[in-house]
Amino acid sequence: MMDALLLSRIQFGANITFHILFPTITIALGWVLLFFKLRFDATGDERWMDAYRFFVKVFALSFALGVVSGITMSFQFGTNWPGFMERVGNVAGPLLAYEVLTAFFLEATFLGIMLFGFRKVPNWLHTLATVLVAFGTTMSAFWILVLNSWMHTPAGYEVIDGVVHATDWWAIVFNPSMPYRLVHMLLASGLTVAFLVAGLSAWRWLRGDRSGGVVAGLRTGVFLAAALIPLQILAGDMHGLNTLEHQPAKVAAMEGNWETRGNVPLVLFALPDQEARENRFEIAIPNGASLILKHDPAGVVPGLNDFVADDGTVEHPPVAPVFWGFRIMVGVGLLMLAVSWAGAWRLWKSDEPGTVLGLALVAMTFSGWVATIAGWYVTEIGRQPWLVTGVLSTAEAVTRTAGAGMVWTSLAMYLALYVVLLAAYVGTLYHLAGKATAAATGRAAPTDPIAQGGERLAATPSA
């Protein structure tokens, strides 16, 4: 029987996994929509507005899912993790408060104008609303990553009677891992959106849709991905080195390295066995990990066995999920590099993506989600057993009032709902894409907007 701690962790993990899917899209998609809008304002070319009108629907849907799943998380701080605010609330509180005050209201209010105000306000105000929504989503990413980074690498605080008090807000906000984590996440959002935009556009292209918005979406997505992926690899490497400095146990788990030593190989495949404290079926490149982490084949890399107390208590994160999450993230990143560069080459030479590239882009539509979630699992599971590194353990923060039965009940409800909503979300994206394609290719009459009634389906793309 699982206890309230494990169940609460699964519940929060499920919740944040579901939640992060949607901000990851809205953070960067806001800026991509602004790009479409500005291109239209500058050129008057209808295809940019065509792309805008299609992806603004994707944005609205993603935003709604992000809002409602985010509310759930803030309540779970109180219902499942009361120790978090009791112990570190003096630091976490102001950061969350500033997120709500400077970001949430801004994006939520101007979203209404951005979505429904096109005919009601002057064009400059509509563009400004788009800017403010994009700015708001990015601000909320900033504040929440400041808090998350502080939980990984706390700074600027003192502990009095077990409670954390802030001593230096500058050090808290610009804590050691914040710049790396923020850049890494913003780039992840950009890549997720680039492949989403390219993938949905390629899907429409393969179905014979040659409308201006499809071509604009394809090119924007592919070139954005090709530009961002090398930056992401660089940022990821620097983030890894920063983690090595501040959270060596996490890096040891990522590398599957048990003993602190030099000439550590880069493990490509293994089944880490935490009981036996060794890797099974290991396939590795000699000196690889030492080269990457220390830029020296003989470089000494910390091992997991350093993080076991004398009485045998394990003080490092569970190895297998961190080890595998890291490999999935990197693997997807390399696929992104291959597909986006091949795609950029092709679209540089020709206006047509062709069937092979089209299919590859369709296959990669949600690749950003996979990489982002895998990466978050690496960093968050990699922080265990701590909730705030060295300050508060996860077990100390969990609820004492809610029993396992209650958490089971809420967890089952959430999981069922998330599965349904995720299926509905993906299904609806393809339904919207199919409808836009049907309208553009004249295969089916566009649905009568009057019969649809006070709704938010854009009419046929006006050519």
Binding site: V68, V91, G93, A97, L115, F116
Partner: protein, 340 residues
Amino acid sequence: MDLLLQGQSWLPVAFAALLGLSILLYVVLDGYDLGVGILTGAVGAGEDGAHKDRMIASIGPFWDANETWLVLAVGLLLVAFPFAQGVVLGALYLPVAVMLMGLILRGVAFDFRAKAVDGHRIWWDRAFFSGSAIAALAQGYMLGLYIVGFERTAANVAFSLLTAVSLLAGYAFIGASWLILKGEGTLQRRAVRWARGTLWLVALGFVAVSVVTPLMSERIFAKWFELPWLVLLAPLPVATAAIFVVLHLVLKALPTRTDRFAWVPLAGAIALFALGFYGLAYSFFPYVVPERMTIWEAAASDASLLIMFVGACLVLPMIAGYTALSYWIFRGKAGRLRYD
């Protein structure tokens, strides 16, 4: 001042006021859009579909921002009163989870119904109605449990069920009032009928809460019924009763041909919510966990409260400003919502 501060720091009091303000704004603002969601349950598909679309269009540009007041309210509870949040939210674990399910369902249904396959739309309409109703009932149930100090005796649960239904009626009433203001023709006439039908349920809820709350503790009883408070506070129930009478009379006369007074029900509903909320706030102050933990015992450090207070003072006027801009842009009768 001494009465308010009781010789202690002013910051927890300021944050209690901010928390109260956000809860009140949430109840009024999300109240009307949850209410509209509840009322869609009274509208069939088919030829009523146009009404349903118009009702939902009337809240389209606003509901996201309205719900943000709930995020601010729970955020303020978490960050300003860290030692109370675990007690309050822990005691309300299941109703909170149920409320969140309701809010998730209705929030996404709003978008899905307009974008999904036509055959699925009826399911999203059902989700929109039931999500709104579930969220309202769960919030009302939590209000009841809070008033009775989280003790789950049979009588207390019965009382909480009554507050659940009352808040549902209250939201339906303010939703109907919103539709009287934003709707036209047959929809407006329907909204007037809905408002008439729910008004008496709201009154029942007010009476129940007013009777039970003073009975929950001698302290609260004394705050209301000892001199000079009995005299000084008398205007509160008198004003509340007067508003009910005015609403009753106005609703009899509505809708008028010139659409004058279409704003009165909404204004009255807001005033009722504000008065009811003030009464509860007065009763429970200075406790954040009823009769167990005061706001000073629950508060975060003054240094952290101060840094948030400065931010709130700078940003809240801006939020008020652009919220007003949004309501001004989408003023007048609700039309069809479209992206282009």
